[in-house]
C-alpha cells in the first residue's frame, strides 16, 4: 500500500500551490495554526498526499489559505471518494457552488432575463470558445 495515497489529488496540488503563493505573507506554521493543526507537519502531509484534508477542517483551512471554502470543499470531497458519509452528503446536497460559479449562474440568469435557458449545442460551442477550448 502506497504511503502517499492522495498524492495525485487536486487538493494536494492546490494546497501546495496556495502555500507557495502565500509564502511572502504567511508561513506554513502560521497556516497550520490558523487551520487548527498544532503540528505544521500536517500541512506537509496534506501537500504531499500522505494525508487527506478532513472535511471538518475545510472551513478553517479555507480561511487559513484565504480561498473559497466551497471550492476547497469540492476538492476535499473528491479526495473522500469511497467514504460513505461523503458520498451520502454529495448524493443529497450535491457539491457546493463556489462564489465564481454563482457569478456565472447569476450572469446567465441576467443575460437570459431569468428565462432559465437550456444548454444547447450552440451555447456549448460558444462557451468552449470563451475558454479557448
Amino acid at each position: 500500500m502506497t504511503r502517499k495515497p492522495h498524492e495525485d489529488t487536486r487538493l494536494a496540488k492546490y494546497v501546495e500551490r496556495r502555500v507557495l503563493e502565500l509564502k511572502p505573507t504567511k508561513s506554513q506554521a502560521e497556516i497550520a495554526n490558523a487551520a487548527g493543526y498544532p503540528n505544521p507537519n500536517m500541512i506537509t502531509m496534506i501537500k504531499n498526499g500522505s494525508s487527506k484534508l478532513a472535511l471538518d477542517r475545510v472551513p478553517s483551512m479555507a480561511r487559513a489559505l484565504e480561498c473559497d471554502p466551497a471550492y476547497l470543499m469540492n476538492l476535499a470531497l473528491e479526495q473522500a471518494v469511497g467514504d460513505p458519509a461523503a458520498q451520502a452528503i454529495i448524493e443529497i446536497f450535491g457539491t457546493p457552488v463556489t462564489a465564481n460559479e454563482m457569478g456565472w449562474l447569476e450572469a446567465i440568469r441576467e443575460a437570459s432575463n431569468r428565462s432559465d435557458p437550456r444548454i444547447t449545442s450552440r451555447s456549448l460551442a460558444a462557451v468552449r470558445a470563451i475558454f479557448g477550448r
Binding site: 456565472w104 446567465i108 435557458p117 437550456r118 444548454i119
Partner: protein, 46 residues
C-alpha cells in the same frame, strides 16, 4: 445551505458544463466573458 443555491435542472446542467470546461480551475467571471455569454443567452427574437 445558502438560499441562492436553489438551482433549476437547466442551471445544474450549465454548472456541470462550466466545471468540465474549466477543468477544476474555478474560472472567474470577467467582463469579456459576460459579454459573450449575453449574446448566447439572449432570448431569440421571433
Amino acid at each position: 445551505m445558502k438560499d441562492d443555491i436553489d438551482l433549476t435542472d437547466n442551471e445544474r446542467a450549465w454548472l456541470e458544463f462550466l466545471r468540465l470546461i474549466g477543468n477544476g480551475s474555478d474560472p472567474r467571471v470577467t467582463l469579456r466573458r459576460v459579454q459573450v455569454l449575453r449574446r448566447i443567452c439572449e432570448p431569440r427574437r421571433a
